[in-house]
Amino acid sequence: MKTMTQPRAGARARARTRPRAEGARWKRLWTNRTLLLMCAPAVLFFAIFAYLPMPGLYLAFIKYNYTDGIFKSPFVAFENFRFLVMTGDLWRLTFNTIAYNLAFIVLGNFLQIFVAILLNELRKKWFKKVSQTIMFLPFFISFVIVGLIAYNILSYDYGLLNGILKSLGADPVKTYSNPHVWPVIIVVTFLWQSTGYGSIVYFAAIMGLDSEVVEASEIDGANALQRIRYIVLPWLKPTFIILLLFSLGGVLRGNFGLIYNLVGANNTSLYSTTDIIETYVFRSLMNNFNFSMGSAVSLYQSVFGFIVVITANWLVKKASPDNTLF
């Protein structure tokens, strides 16, 4: 990296002091030219689509208006952030985003482990295969369909839920105007969509368990529960910790597709419990055209999220040095 980004003057100065080392460096670049060229499209891709937008976060410090553009709009320093803190928006968004992600991560992992262990206990091959295939199915559909399915179940007039309630003689519920039920709906939908997919990792880990250990425990008379408690669960612990820490790194990144399609674009009555960072930024862009406010929230998310990832990676390093990402 250093060789590639070193400014010319610096390189020349160094070349004077250590000509041989510098020459070797350029030679190395030359010998690897094909490999470098093979990486070039990807480097270009990420430079354009990921790095080029980054300076755009400058928008967070100005009061953007369309006629003045980025460079002439007035500079307001931290005014946008102050506004976000004053209105309480920032707190609500942070809380919702983190709370949803924690629920997804913790409940998700537990359910995945639970399902993987139970799958491993089953003896009928066809049952295992069929149920695994079906549980994996929700992963394959788009969030648009997920939203439609939720509507199928929850719609006030025609939903399956109200149909059942009515046939039991109970009053139908107005789900789409009651913010308190949405955390449950969103988490359940997430679990519905991701458990089959996520349990595969744990199932594969269980498959890697030494069968001799399992057999030995059985000869010693361990029953299924004891085997799970003393062999399988400890065996899954490292996988669990690593996956947990990795997902904790993304705790500030909300699941926009899920929430946007479940809640709908403009259902303001549900914002108190369903608005996350991504949906707020999306609205500030597409509905309010408040580019600066959206960027302020994005910048906050990126910086705060960066700190969280570094911390999580540091924890991974402590837990298992082989699994760190960098």
Binding site: M1, T3, M4, R28, N32, L35, L37, M38, C39, A42, V43, F45, F46, I48, F49, A50, Y51, L52, L57, L59, V115, L118, E121, L122, F127, T133, I134, M135, F136, L137, F139, F140, I141, S142, F143, V144, L148, I149, Y151, N152, D157, L160, W192, V201, A204, E218, I219, G221, A224, L225, Q226, G257, E278, L285, G294, S295, S298, Q301, G305, F326
Partner: protein, 303 residues
């Protein structure tokens, strides 16, 4: 043989039997919960609209009707157009993306490639820090001028750090000695990749290609951001999204099919469109499932 007998005898104690029974019940129920919503959509799409109004959505159509499908295909231009757009984007994007991901992944795991760590970090860093939606939107729309262009859907989906890392760990399992011996025989790096590595990496390519293809097939986010609703042929998921959420669409198809607005099968039509949009993926899915499983396990082992 004897071990098998021992296993059978010991496993039939009460606790183990209970655990197994519970396993069958729980997994069976969970699988059923995963399946029912699909049946609900399917059932509703075949239900007569009047029945929906009185009885609500149901898995089993009480009064069977294919009217919704008739309306959807009455004006086939739109949905066929959406299909063609999505298929084209998926094919082109998957072919190009797969090639680029494979090439990058192979180069980045070569132990004799000194710059590999720097470049890997350059790619990986984008998952740690991002400019967020607004600058990305402005870039695509105002600077690259890709608004209302299919390229706005195609380009951002080509690669992802996750897939490149997955490709890296896949190709790592191909011994480096193969590359080395080919080099001694005088083959260049690109030739080695094209002639030797690609054919050996077909399972990996299948997995990664399917991940990219699924991404394109289900892509609605960039489409919603960058393609205007006035566009005639929208990608499938955006089309579906508009059918579900916009009244305009219903009005237009009412005019096109000469069915008065109040007789339009509003609800069943949404479901019918969803079935038409998702059907192929679900039919295709059991055959390709194992490639996804492969990818998930490899991706998880090596971050």
């Amino acid at each position: 043989m004897q071990a098998e007998a021992v296993r059978k005898r010991i496993r039939s104690d009460a606790t183990s039997l209970f655990v197994r029974g519970f396993g069958y019940a729980f997994i069976g129920l969970f699988a059923l919960c995963c399946l029912i919503p699909f049946l609900l959509v399917l059932g509703t799409s075949f239900t007569n609209e009047g029945t929906i109004a009185t009885n609500g959505f149901n898995i089993w159509p009480r009064v069977f009707s294919t009217f919704a499908y008739k309306i959807v295909f009455e004006n086939p231009g739109l949905i066929v157009g959406a299909y063609v757009v999505t298929i084209c984007i998926t094919i082109v994007g998957t072919a190009a993306g797969l090639f680029l991901v494979a090439m990058t992944g192979y180069a980045l795991q070569r132990p004799d490639f000194q710059q590999r760590n720097a470049i890997s970090f350059f790619i990986y860093f984008t998952t740690l820090f991002s400019g967020g939606l607004v600058p990305f939107y402005l870039l695509i729309k105002q600077y690259l001028h890709l608004g209302d262009s299919y390229l706005a859907v195609l380009l951002p989906g080509l690669m992802s750090p996750f897939l490149i890392i997955m490709m890296k760990s896949f190709t790592k399992s191909i011994p480096h000695a193969i590359t080395e011996s080919a080099k001694i025989d005088g083959a260049g790096d690109f030739t080695i990749f094209l002639r030797l590595i690609l054919p050996m990496a077909t399972p990996a390519l299948a997995t990664i290609g399917l991940f990219i293809a699924l991404g394109y097939w289900n892509e609605w986010y960039n489409a919603m951001l960058f393609l205007s609703p006035d566009m005639k042929y929208r990608p499938l998921q955006l089309f579906l999204y508009n059918v579900i959420t916009s009244a305009d669409f219903i009005r237009n198809s009412s005019a096109a099919s000469n069915v008065p607005l109040r007789d339009m099968p509003l609800e069943s039509m949404k479901m019918a469109t969803a079935v038409v949009a998702t059907g192929p993926v679900i039919l295709f899915y059991p055959f390709v499932q194992r490639y996804f499983i492969q990818g998930i396990t490899v991706g998880a082992v090596k971050g």
